[in-house]
Symmetry: C2
């Protein structure tokens, strides 16, 4: 655990926001100015491989964001204007997919994406 990795991890943990690699680079760079982009990418990928982070994209792949909550299943609340993503704890069960719609898939997971406009973008 080096200073660089700690800086990256600190930026991500403790919030339920999904940041882009660039946002992580900016925020971590305020704490550790000599941090390079390559190290941010390397660290994000390592954390992803370790299962701490999950990579998400809710705008059709245009921007990649890192979900700090890699372990617990949860839903997502997405602003279609600014791209803001927040986690939502599941309180109700997701409707099961009827067998005839499964097309032979072996299902592992199901999550819901709620799309809307956040308060900032509405004002």
């Amino acid at each position: 655990m080096t200073a660089q990795r700690r800086a990256v991890a600190q930026v991500l943990t403790g919030n339920n926001l999904h940041l882009t690699a660039d946002e992580v680079f900016e925020r971590a760079g305020q704490v550790l100015p000599e941090l390079s982009r390559a190290t941010v990418y390397n660290t994000l990928n390592e954390l992803t491989d370790m299962g701490e982070l999950r990579v998400t994209s809710f705008d059709g792949g245009l921007t990649r964001r890192y979900d700090p909550n890699g372990h617990d299943p949860h839903h997502h609340l997405v602003c279609t204007v600014c791209g803001l993503v927040q986690d939502v704890l599941p309180e109700q069960d997701v409707p099961e997919l009827p067998r005839r719609d499964r097309r032979g898939f072996e299902l592992h997971d199901a999550h819901i994406v709620y799309e809307g406009i956040c308060t900032d973008c509405r004002s």
Copy 2:
């Protein structure tokens, strides 16, 4: 409506698969060999702007795929191994997000992503 656009549109319509730009280029190129990549991209973007297509990405933004069904709301069935995506018609209502979890968002849409392994990848 030119021959190139028709070739691109034909590849996409009539199935519920989500193809990548490259897959569209390959398949349309079998019908119209002089088709260029730039034209495929241009056409896909135009169809997307028109609302005929929707751009999706279910692998964290690594690959971008085009959903031929841009109009009707539907869910998605995704193979986490090969990336195959299929549409699923909604038969049950998506659980509503409790007001206290909405964080001031004005909600427009909710859809479910079912993840699993397809028959091909299991064998």
